[in-house]
Subunit: 75 residues, 2 copies
């Protein structure tokens, strides 16, 4: 499984935002319309997520897409 460092950091940012809101992966999947196993893969850094799916997750978390990168880019 190809785990690119950028994918790992995005996954960590997604997981952190989800947990801050006390959401399970199932709840985030329901709210975003994405599959729970896909979200798990993104959080584990296994997915090269696309722009549209980033917006689906940001909208479901009521954050901005930039917020995923603000954590990730400030390492």
């Amino acid at each position: 499984m190809n785990k690119h460092p950028h994918q790992i950091r995005f996954g960590q940012a997604l997981s952190s935002h989800r947990k801050k809101q006390g959401l399970s992966q199932e709840q985030l999947a329901f709210n975003s319309g994405l599959d729970r196993s896909y979200i798990g893969g993104v959080e584990r850094g296994e997915r090269n997520i696309s722009l549209i799916n980033m917006y689906k997750l940001a909208d479901a978390l009521q954050i901005k897409v930039a917020d995923f990168f603000t954590d990730a880019d400030n390492d």
Copy 2:
């Protein structure tokens, strides 16, 4: 051709950052290692760009990936 509003806004942000630096699509393609026609498609809002390609473009423009969204998300 499917032109999702988020793709259009990302394309506008990419084009704006590229032009601010006086780069042609060819130069950005060379610097990012991506194909010029792919970059043209992203700028026209025709591509659902992935995370890794966002980083390639941001690195080539010496900006942060969040900078693509700061413009796009502030509409």
